[in-house]
Symmetry: C2
Subunit: 398 residues, 2 copies
């Protein structure tokens, strides 16, 4: 099964044109932005041109369906607020190319999907979460982005093109190609990573509430300062997690909002998001207890209150043995001596799709390990290698 490298790369660069940031190959294409919606309609045209039947579901997930039972391949085409050109997009265009090559050469039936809002404008993996039944659309609809816009309102942007839900029973499995978004392959000079498992994630919005007051007249010992509470929580947490984590465990405070956020006011309220990831569910649970206990302790000692929002949780997911074996075979043929087995530190739509069918994933290197940033990139030789491994794997499944 031979793939058309030029056609694949040309489509990949065309997709980058929707929301191109003007900074390097950077892309600004968050879920349901004008650029994202235009990109989805363009993808629908490309799917049709490839002889696939287009379906757009109420979540904005765009499918290109083969006849009868098929293997589903793809990823997502929405981006981070400031994202790269490959995160998600690579997996969608690679799937399209493999589907085209398979049709042209009588290979197995391949369907293609671009899931919506993988990057979490409205929670995280929202499109695959709703499609897989993990989340009810009516519940997801109440999610607000940081500007207070609801998913329900954002979905109006595609309402006119919705054709209905896609029945997962027609798919034999799901395979997703993605950039690694870490340093492992790039540092080792390898081309391919066959994923063994996807790590689990926990995320809790936490709010400290104290007393808003004047920054000139409120003596230090009388303050109930929400920023000081967040900073102390962070210091204690880093110290207490050391005994629990492995070198692969990560935890992040990436979103902080102080109220009223003015330089002359002791902040009375501080909201932040605590996120942590690990391959072991027991460790995720032990970390949760440390997070909650430490926040409560900081609030108590400062005579402040702490509120924990709903925790968002995804368990670690093992890859399907048969599909993983096919990807290993593809790697041996198309990238001999330049591939490895590895876990995925990042979340992917495959995490949710695993609720419905067997799943497997493939990685190509990220230069410098950089992702979720305009600088994200991968050598085009490695991009093509990824598609060739997919093609070999699919052929071996046929």
């Amino acid at each position: 099964m031979i793939i058309d490298r030029a056609r694949f790369l040309s489509d990949l660069h065309a997709l980058r044109g929707f929301g191109a940031s003007g900074v390097g190959k950077g892309v600004v294409r968050p879920a349901f932005s004008d650029a994202d919606i235009m990109a989805r309609f363009w993808l629908a045209e490309r799917f049709e041109a490839a002889g696939l039947r287009v379906q757009i579901d109420p979540m904005g997930n765009v499918f290109g369906l083969a006849e009868g039972r098929s293997l589903l391949m793809g990823s997502h085409s929405d981006s981070q607020p400031e994202g790269g050109w490959l995160d998600g997009a690579l997996g969608v265009i690679a799937a399209l190319e493999v589907a085209r090559a398979a049709r042209e050469e009588g290979g197995p039936a391949i369907s293609v999907v671009s899931f919506q809002d993988e990057e979490g404008r409205f929670g995280g993996l929202t499109g695959s979460s709703v499609w897989s039944g993990k989340t009810l659309l009516v519940n997801a609809d109440t999610e607000l982005d940081y500007d207070g816009i609801s998913l329900k309102d954002a979905r109006q942007g595609i309402a006119g093109r919705v054709t209905g839900w896609v029945d997962p029973a027609q798919f034999s499995g799901f395979v997703e190609l993605h950039i690694e978004q870490g340093l492992t392959l790039d540092a080792a000079g390898e081309k391919i990573g066959v994923v063994t498992k996807i790590v689990g994630t926990r995320e809790i919005p936490i709010t400290f509430e104290g007393q808003q007051n004047h920054a000139g007249t409120t003596q230090m010992h009388l303050r109930r300062d929400a920023f000081q509470a967040i900073a102390e929580f962070n210091t204690l947490l880093n110290d207490r997690l050391r005994n629990v984590v492995t070198p692969m465990t990560v935890w992040t405070i990436g979103h902080v909002t102080l109220h009223p956020n003015a330089s002359s006011i002791v902040p009375g309220k501080g909201m932040f998001t605590m996120q942590w990831r690990d391959g072991d569910t027991d460790r995720l649970i032990r970390m949760e207890k440390i997070v909650r206990d430490t926040a409560q302790e900081v609030a108590d000692t400062r005579n402040m209150s702490v509120h924990f929002g709903p925790m968002w949780a995804l368990e670690p997911v093992a890859m399907d043995m048969r599909l993983k074996a096919a990807l290993e075979h593809g790697a041996k043929v198309a990238a001999p001596g330049s591939w490895r087995l590895m876990p995925s530190g990042a979340l992917h739509d495959a995490t949710n799709v695993a609720r419905l069918m067997p799943v497997a994933m493939l990685f190509v290197p990220s230069i410098g390990g950089i992702s979720h940033a305009f600088e994200e990139d991968t050598d085009e030789v490695d991009l093509v290698a990824g598609v060739e491994v997919l093609a070999q794997a699919v052929a071996s499944l046929g």
Copy 2:
């Protein structure tokens, strides 16, 4: 000289009506908001009704001028983003009432002022800073609020009513009544504080820059996380300042902005404002060195960069002996046994006006020491006591 308590309180409550927040007596009337501009035009009418000649300068400072040489009294009528009903407003309406009483009873000539943007939407004490010549209007005009709106654009809201600059040479001095905004008088059950000096302030915008990256795939030891840098800076600073400060010294991080501020992204950039206040210039300078050295050290150890914005500085200001003596006399007569001499931990317009003429200040209690918050309040008996002390002081100067 007898003041009209009912007239004074009625005007004070009327001013609260502009931007009333609906939460207690709270007010939302930031500089050049619609509520602030409407309040300034209403004040102009009240000044005229009191027989004063109204002048509005290009900064939006509103004056009510007596004939010939006069004593200037007043404060500001803009509020914090979420402010109380007395911060600034009390000093303006009290001055208006004393000016009215003086005219009615042949007392000394009193002029009244409401300065603009004391609360610092565009820097801090902006109106008195420009009027006093501390800042050039062309420079102040380039200041942006947190929404990126410039002072130059905001000033368009009053452009039609500007009459020109007011010559400070006509004023013999400036007296400002203000709420304490601290706990000292309220805790002691006293009615009046005669201010001895206003503490100095330093404020620097600081930015840490590291590497924006994926929160799932970037191992902890590889991160250059801007939030972690801010939190570590805060911890080290609190520790290092202990040896330098007095119980009256304060320092605050009230404004923090992470970029891109998303829960799944290691923040590559973190901007915050570091502010500190003290009555002693040498101590302010020693604290500045600790702030800069600590931020630089954190950036160096984390392989990140740190950028210091322009430092905003106000030196401590001593009150004029003659005006202060008059206020002490007024306190002895109108609040016997219930007043004290004290420093001001808060900045006030008097700080800038002191560049042009002798200044003095008077405090009334803040219930619970709370200010820069909707809960800010003062017993009306104490508000009236403040005006009576002013009237006695002014009469003694006559």
